[in-house]
């Protein structure tokens, strides 16, 4: 498996303006959904992205594919800054960057047969001739574990797990090298969840795909990821290889998140239960964004925003407890 940097993200920012007033809209602030995020994803690897709802993880995923235009920053795909490309220049790249959605009910057109759902991207990009099309649909359906004889059926005739397979086949149709999977198993029952996770791992090995795997489920992320980034209020607060993150979480937020996830035994929870809720991303706290809920907050945390600093072996954390300058 090659491991050159496929995706390089630097200082990515996405602010959504918030307006007020009916006749003349005035801007009253910004929702700082993604606020200065940098990371790399190696070819054939999976970056897991975890965080609570509203932390900006889905916005980040969509911004990477330019489904949302970022406010500033850069996204390089194989060294090329895709944010500088025009729509026309972007089109051949769109093939390489695909997405799998959370809800297998809402993300498939109910009036299209499976064959049309899968072949539509092929037609848009002129990937196959009419003669080859049916063969290609068959190949894709068998690849994701669907019966090719069901190509003429409509989405409602499939179970939720099978529908998620259709969504995966559609994403694979264009032979992408990078897939953003936004909560791809959250809507599925556990026994089906395991089937889809295994499928994603198999496809990665077979096709050398890189994933950005967005999930709120730490156990799922731990299973599928090579590297994990933890997001809080638009920032990455910790990023590390998966074993290192779960064995030795450094950021107090990551520690709280790990101890909050229920394990199998009773009361084996260590560490404090976090108080309160996620603050509004419209006016995030000054200093460290986590300081109001942080059990280890110090004076410096209230005023100074910690930077994401590399500790050892690719383990990076944004916390004054670990920063040399504090």
């Amino acid at each position: 498996m090659s491991s050159y940097k496929l995706i390089e993200v630097r200082d990515l920012v996405k602010h959504f303006p918030v307006t007020s007033g009916v006749i003349r809209a005035r801007k009253i602030g910004d929702v700082q959904a993604v606020d200065g995020v940098s990371f790399d994803i190696a070819a054939g690897h999976t970056m897991g992205l975890v965080g609570e709802s509203g932390c900006g993880k889905s916005t980040l995923g969509r911004t990477l594919l330019r489904l949302i235009e970022p406010t500033s920053g850069s996204i390089r795909y194989e060294g090329q800054d895709i944010l500088r490309l025009s729509g026309r220049q972007m089109r051949p790249l769109r093939r390489k960057l695909q997405m799998i959605f959370q809800d297998p009910f809402a993300s498939l057109n109910p009036r299209m047969t499976v064959a049309r759902i899968i072949s539509e991207p092929l037609e848009v990009h002129n990937m196959v001739s009419d003669a080859e099309r049916n063969l290609e649909i068959e190949r894709l359906m068998s690849m994701v574990g669907l019966d090719p004889s069901h190509a003429g059926r409509y989405p409602h005739e499939f179970s939720s797990g099978q529908r998620q397979r259709i969504g995966i086949a559609r994403a694979l149709a264009l032979q992408p090298s990078f897939i953003v999977a936004d909560e791809p198993v959250s809507a599925l029952d556990v026994s089906i969840q395991a089937q889809i996770l295994n499928l994603l791992v198999d496809l990665q090995k077979e096709l050398g795909l890189a994933y950005l795997f967005i999930s709120h489920d730490l156990n799922v992320v731990r299973y599928i990821s090579h590297e994990v980034a933890v997001m809080y209020l638009g920032r990455i607060v910790e990023r590390a290889p998966v074993e290192s993150l779960f064995a030795k979480p450094l950021h107090p937020y990551t520690q709280a998140l790990l101890s909050a996830a229920p394990g199998f035994g009773k009361d084996q929870r260590q560490g404090p239960v976090l108080e309160g809720d996620l603050p509004s991303p419209m006016n995030p706290p000054t200093g460290c964004r986590f300081h109001q809920r942080c059990p280890c907050a110090m004076g410096v945390c209230r005023h100074h925003d910690p930077l994401l600093e590399e500790m050892a072996n690719g383990h990076a954390v944004a916390c004054h407890l670990w920063s040399a300058s504090a």
């Binding site: 029952d189 556990v190 089906i192 791992v201 709120h216 156990n219 299973y223 394990g263 996620l278």
Partner: protein, 323 residues
């Protein structure tokens, strides 16, 4: 005497596609002061069973057979007026989605007080102060001030606390919580699980938690009932079932959860899809997906049998220790 005793419950839904046997002969028992977890995948009948306890099954659904004894009285034989006293009085219920189960145009205090007025026949003023007390018991800060706020002014976790406050306002002996933490983030989920545990310790209340998440069940429950296709596959002590599951379905369910088997290992899956409850499956309902099915499993429906203290299995072949 057990607090709740469900015997041979059958609930059917007559749909255009055919008869759906959502609950097909369920037996359950809950002692007072204990927490029972009902686990299973979607469509296994866990919510329908609990809605039957509240007698909230709407047409085309119908309770076809069985009895539900609560404190010795058969709930299915009560008049509508008597049942109203049980709902919210003796048994409180918390629903999954705190966004849709609160009325958006009434303040939360009014919504909690409404239930108290009906059940305790008190004045508005008294009901309001009891509502504030209930909000304090679920640790909502500044409860007296916030009782006048509307649901949209609260976060998801706070809304779920309000739902719980409403359910416990009349001090029920049994609290039924249907997926109480599914819509919440993990850190908030941990807060709500702690709250349920504290409330139980304070009030000696029994709790039934419906969940698809085995880990949540492991955290909270003394006893466990594993549902599949409208039947109970295995029930007994939660810790014992999770550490040494007996039924092939429980084993498969546990092994398909990431993090249970050591990381890096391939997840074990249950082949096939959950059954469509319209087609009647002959023999054991799990046999088409069972990795260890014998030839007779497709003919004979297994009878629930007790294998050790309080532990029962609906499988003819597997017994504990044979794994």
């Amino acid at each position: 005497m057990s607090l709740l005793h469900i015997n041979g419950l059958q609930v059917h839904f007559q749909t255009e596609a055919g008869l759906v046997r959502a609950v097909d002969g369920v037996d359950l028992e809950l002692e007072s002061g204990r927490t029972l977890g009902i686990v299973g995948e979607s469509g296994c009948g866990k919510s329908v069973t609990m809605l039957s306890v509240m007698r909230l099954i709407q047409p085309p659904g119908r309770i076809m057979a069985g009895s539900i004894l609560f404190e010795g009285r058969d709930l299915l034989a009560l008049s509508r007026e008597e049942m109203r006293q049980v709902r919210g009085g003796g048994i409180g219920m918390v629903f999954q989605d705190p966004m849709t189960s609160l009325n958006p145009v009434l303040s939360v205090g009014e919504q909690i007080a409404e239930a108290i007025e009906i059940h305790k026949r008190t004045s508005r003023r008294r009901a309001w102060s009891m509502a504030v007390e209930a909000m304090e018991r679920v640790s909502i800060p500044d409860a007296a001030d916030r009782a006048g706020d509307y649901p949209h002014q609260f976060s998801g976790g706070m809304r779920q606390r309000i739902m719980i406050a409403m359910a416990i306002a009349c001090k029920p002996r049994l609290l039924i919580a249907d997926e109480p933490t599914t819509a919440l983030d993990v850190t908030v989920q941990a807060q709500i699980l702690n709250l349920l545990r504290d409330l139980q310790a304070e009030n000696k209340m029994s709790i039934i938690v419906i969940t698809h998440d085995l880990r949540v069940a492991a955290q909270l429950c003394h006893d466990l009932a594993v549902f599949y296709a409208g039947r109970v596959m295995e029930r007994g002590n939660a810790e014992q079932i999770l550490s040494n599951p007996g039924h092939p379905y429980t084993i498969a369910l546990r092994n398909s959860i990431p993090g249970f088997s050591s990381s890096g290992e391939r997840l074990q899956t249950i082949g096939g899809n959950p059954p469509n409850l319209i087609d009647k499956i002959s023999g054991c309902v799990f046999h088409p997906r069972c990795p260890t099915a014998h030839s007779s499993c497709s003919d004979l429906s297994p009878v629930e049998r007790f294998v050790s203290d309080g532990r029962s299995l609906a499988c003819d072949y597997h017994a504990l220790g044979e794994m």
